[in-house]
Symmetry: C2
Subunit: 224 residues, 2 copies
DNA sequence: CGAAGGCTTGATCTCGGTCAAGGCAGGTGG
DNA sequence: CCACCTGCCTTGACCGAGATCAAGCCTTCG
């Protein structure tokens, strides 16, 4: 039931959240990136907020042992970069070609929120929504098997992604990214996907596109 | 470095956050609970915010397989219960005798925030702070060994707890609660604690109180 | 005193991490 | 056009951390 929560709150804010549409031109600055480009790095000063408009990115933290944890994948409509601290906790790197983000000065947003109660409430709700999603993800990381995480991930992507022709869902990120998002090994991701394919739950169109063949089976495998 | 983040943001908001001190009398209603009492349950309607004043509580979600995940332990000064959804995602149950919370009507807080920019900003910062802490916890759950989790937990408790005489730190919650918080088995919690004790990193005063003997060793074991 | 719940310890088993290798597709240079 | 390389993905074999099962201990409470 919590995986559903992820999707609902996600869907609610995509593709472009609240009244930001009008703000994009007025106070935001658009930027364009390619694959593997960095929007910002861990420990840089955190004085901007961002809105991802097109493409995809990953938000990740480097662990001291060299591995990394991907906190979230950022898709069109996602607002990100509002740390409370002065420094970035995570870096944000693009995973898709031609990724566009709009950047807003934090100070300016602050004063804008003072003036505009609707904006203030929207931002608050986005923050609370993030908390809900993070809690759901905590359950996923804490209390589920590797194969369940993969199923949950596929359902999440299917729900968030703009559906293309015939229900084909794109996976813009690599298997390595998926592994670091779900906190399991690449090999395990691969094995889980192979299992789902050989049991006709999903099919693949190349390595980076899939289609759900048996949604019931997929859902049954994710919540345990 | 992320475990440190947990502590910092935590300390910043305890014992009583921002200007709520004045609000407690004016618009909040105090409630008193005993051990195992429920403040609210999963799926109840979510139209109040709460401030924990004394005692301790756990915020937890029930998983379909019967297990549970404890999202957070609530200690004095913690504000909780701001779901975006209409229904509670988690239940909150007290773990200590004589736990006091103050309840605020959400509607009333909303309108108060419209009037008081400082309050609005404070709430926003609390929310962003929660996000930071949740992300740190995600790293903990995703990318660390069982023994590291236990060490991190002890350090967190030592930092949050009001220090009693001679650096003795109370663990108000049971081993089962700790296990569900760290997403490991009770037996593993017990074994890790035993190991730390037999290596003279900590000592116990009864089962529910401990003292850090060798802080360096404890810190070295948690961040990997 | 006995019962119950919390805590600890031991024995066993299993999921998934790690190591190793091979397949496949796209890009580059001869 | 083919050979080669490189990066990504998949598959297999093995092993270990930790879950699970089982049992005993200690404290508290009726």
């Amino acid at each position: 039931m919590h995986l559903a929560t992820i999707d609902e709150s996600r869907r609610a804010r995509a593709p472009i959240p609240f009244g930001l549409t009008g703000l994009i031109e007025s106070i935001g600055t658009p930027y364009n990136y390619g694959t593997e480009d960095t929007v910002y790095r861990q420990c840089e000063s955190a004085d901007h907020w961002y809105l991802l408009v097109s493409g995809a990115a990953r938000q990740c933290a480097q662990i001291s042992d060299g591995r990394r944890q991907i906190m979230d994948f950022l898709l069109p409509g996602d607002l990100f970069g509002f740390e409370i601290a002065a420094r970035r906790e995570c870096s944000v790197e693009c995973v898709a070609e031609n990724t566009t983000v709009v950047r807003y000065e934090r100070q300016r947003m602050e004063s804008l929120m003072e003036a505009d109660q609707n904006l203030a409430r929207s931002v608050r709700e986005i923050a609370f929504g993030s908390i809900d999603r993070l809690q759901s993800r905590m359950i996923l990381l804490g209390r589920s098997r590797a194969s369940e995480r993969v199923c949950g991930f596929l359902l999440e992507m299917a729900h968030r992604a703009q559906k293309t022709i015939e229900g084909i869902v794109a996976l813009p990120m690599s298997r390595y990214d998926i592994a670091d998002y779900l906190a399991i090994a690449v090999e395990t991701v691969s094995r889980s996907l192979t299992a789902l394919r050989s049991e006709h739950v999903i099919t693949f169109v190349g390595a980076r596109n899939f289609r759900i063949v048996n949604r019931e089976a997929l859902e049954a495998r994710c919540c345990r």
